[in-house]
C-alpha cells in the first residue's frame, strides 16, 4: 500500500512559505528528523572513508559475533556487516532521493496540466493514475523492474513510477483551487501569457503539499527498495543493499538470527528519520499528508 495522501486545500501565500523552514526548526520532532537524516547522509557519503573494511572483502570467518574487530559482526561470507550497512545505506539514500525527485517532477507536471486544462485531458490522466494505483505498489514495481531488465536504474524508475500518482493528485487538487483565486484572475486580466500564469504563479503556489509528499515518498521508497532487493531485483551481488542483506539474513536465520535484526533496524532508522522530518514539515506547512504503510 502506498502513501495515502489527503489533499488539504493549500493556503500558502509566498510570504508564508519563507517562514516554513524556521517553523520546521521549531518543531522538535522535525528537527530531530532533519539532524538524523543529515547524520545518515554524511555516513552514506563518507562510507568509503569511514567504513572499517572493504564491503566486498572477505575479512574473517562467516558469522563472527559482534566484537571490537567487527562491531556488528560478519556476514555469511565473512564480510564486515557494519561496512556493508554503510554502503547499503548509501544505495537506499540514493534511491530515496532520486525516486522522490523523479516522481515529483513527473507527478507535478501531470497534475499541473490536468488541473489547469481540465476536460478530457484531466479525465484521461487521472484514470491513468487510478490504474497505477490499482496495482499494489510492490507488485507493479516488480513487473516494471523485470521489464526494464533489473539493476539500479530500472529499480529507481520503477519506484518513481509507482509514486507519480500521489504527486499528480496532490498538485491537481492544489491547482484546481489556486487557479480560481483572485491573484490568478488579476494576472490574466493584466494580460499575462498562459505559460507565465501556469509556471510563475500557479506552480509555485501549488508546491506546498508536494514538498511534504517528497519526504513521505522518500521513506516509502526506502521500504519498497528493500523489498525489491530482498527479491533480488535490484543491485546485483556482491554489492551491498539493505534488502539483499535481509534476504541473506533470512536464509541463514538458523545460524545468525541477529543479522536480519540489525539490518531491519538500519532500515527502520533511515525510514523513521524521513518520517520525523516529514512530520516536522507537515506542521511547518500546516498540511495533513500522512504516510500509510508500505505493504511488501
Amino acid at each position: 500500500m502506498t502513501a495515502e495522501a489527503h489533499a488539504a486545500p493549500p493556503e500558502l501565500a509566498p510570504s508564508k512559505r519563507r517562514g516554513a523552514w524556521r517553523r520546521l526548526a521549531e518543531t522538535p520532532i522535525g528537527l530531530a528528523g532533519a539532524i538524523a537524516l543529515l547524520g545518515l547522509a554524511l555516513m552514506a557519503l563518507l562510507a568509503p572513508w569511514i567504513a572499517p573494511y572493504d564491503p566486498l572483502a572477505q575479512t574473517s570467518l562467516s558469522f563472527e559475533p559482534i566484537s571490537a574487530k567487527h562491531i556488528l559482526g560478519s556476514d555469511e561470507l565473512g564480510r564486515d556487516i557494519f561496512s556493508r550497512i554503510l554502503f547499503g545505506l548509501r544505495l537506499s539514500l540514493l534511491t530515496a532521493v532520486s525516486t522522490s525527485l523523479l516522481a515529483a517532477i513527473a507527478g507535478i507536471a501531470i497534475g499541473l496540466v490536468a488541473g489547469y486544462f481540465g476536460g478530457w485531458l484531466d479525465g484521461l490522466a487521472m484514470r491513468l493514475m487510478d490504474v497505477i494505483l490499482s496495482v499494489p505498489a510492490i507488485l507493479l514495481a516488480i513487473v516494471l523492474v523485470a521489464i526494464m531488465g533489473g539493476g539500479l536504474v530500472p529499480l529507481i524508475i520503477a519506484i518513481a513510477i509507482v509514486a507519480v500518482p500521489t504527486f499528480a493528485r496532490l498538485t491537481r487538487a492544489s491547482v484546481l483551487t489556486i487557479k480560481e483565486r483572485e491573484f490568478v484572475a488579476a494576472q490574466r486580466a493584466a494580460g499575462a501569457s498562459m505559460p507565465d500564469i501556469v509556471l510563475r504563479t500557479i506552480l509555485p503556489n501549488s508546491l506546498g503539499p508536494a514538498v511534504v509528499q517528497l519526504v513521505i515518498t522518500a521513506s516509502t521508497a526506502v521500504l519498497t527498495e528493500s523489498g525489491l532487493n530482498f527479491l533480488g531485483l535490484g543491485v546485483a551481488p556482491p554489492n551491498a543493499s539493505l534488502g539483499s542483506m535481509l534476504a541473506a539474513g533470512n536464509e541463514n536465520l538458523f545460524v545468525s538470527p541477529i543479522y536480519p535484526v540489525i539490518v531491519g533496524f538500519a532500515i527502520a532508522i533511515l525510514v523513521a528519520a524521513f518520517d520525523a522530518f516529514g512530520v516536522g514539515l507537515q506542521r511547518a506547512y500546516g498540511t495533513t499528508v500522512s504516510r500509510g504503510g508500505v505493504l511488501a
Partner: protein
Amino acid sequence: MILSYLVRRLGQLALVLFIGSVAVWIMIYAVPGSPELAIAGPDATAEQLAAVRERLGLDRPLPVQYLSWVGGVLTGDLGSSLASGKAVTELLGQRIPATFQLIVFAVVIGLVIALPAGVFAAWRPRSLTARAAGIYQVVLLAFPSFWLGIILIWLFGLHFRVLPTMSNYVPFMADPVGAFRNTLLPALTLGLFMAAVLVRFVRSAVSEELAKPHIRAVRAKGASEGNILINHALRNAALPIVTIVGLQLGAFIGGAVVTESVFNYPGIGRLVFVAVSTRDYPVVQGVLMFVVFSFAVINMAVDVIYAALDPRIKVN
C-alpha cells in the same frame, strides 16, 4: 440519485479497466529487444523465433492483437502459461483460495488488534494504551512489512519450534488445525502490519464521533461508557473504517509478494513474482489484469456502499 452515481462510477470503472488492459497488454512490447526474443531466449534460431511469433500471434497488426487478447480476457480466457502450458485461469484458480484464506486470517488479526486499541485510544487519548498504540504504529511502519515475518519465523519456527518455518496452503475446510498452523505466521505478519495502518484511522474516526453533540446527549441520558463507545461512537465511525479495510484488502491481493516469498506461501503475489522471473508473460499479464480488476471493483464497491449507507454524502 444513488443510481446515477452508480452509473457514473461504472463508467469510470470501465475506463480504468480499459486503460489498465491496454497498459498490461502493451507491457510485453516494452521488454528490451522483442517479446519473441525475450520468450525464446537469446540463442533462439530464426525458425524458433518465427514459431513463437506465430504462436503468440505477434505477426498480426497491433490493434488486432490487442482485440484478440482483450476478447479472451472478457470471455474468461487469459491465455496459457509459457512455462507449464496450463491455462492462466487454472493457475489463478489454484492461488485465489490460498490468498483468500491468508487475507481472511490477516484481516481478523488486524481488526482484533486495531479496533479495541483504536477505540480505547480515542476514548482516553492520554492513557498509556493510547501512547502505546501511537508508538506501535510509528515503529512498525518504519520496518519493512516482511521483516516482521523473518522475526516471527525465527521466534516461532526456530526458537520455540511450535510452527512450521515454511507455510503451505492447507484449506481451512479440509484441515482447520493444519490451516491454522500454516497460515498463522504469514497472516500474523500481514495482520500486525494492517493493525498499524488501521489503528490511526479507527482512533481518529472514533474521536471525531466522540466530539459530536449527540454523544454528549447520550451521556447526559446516563448511558454507560461502553454503550456510548460501541453503539454510538464506533457504529457511526464504521464507514471510514470499512473503507480503509476494503482498500487494505484490495492491496493484499497480489501486494504481499515479499511476505509470501519469505514464507514460500503459494499466493497470487508469489505467482506473479515467479512468472516475472521466468519471463512467463501470459501469466504476468493475466494475473495483473485480475489484480487491477479486483482492486477496481473493491474500490468501487466501497464507494458505492459508502454513498448508499450514508445519506450525508453528496454523490454529486
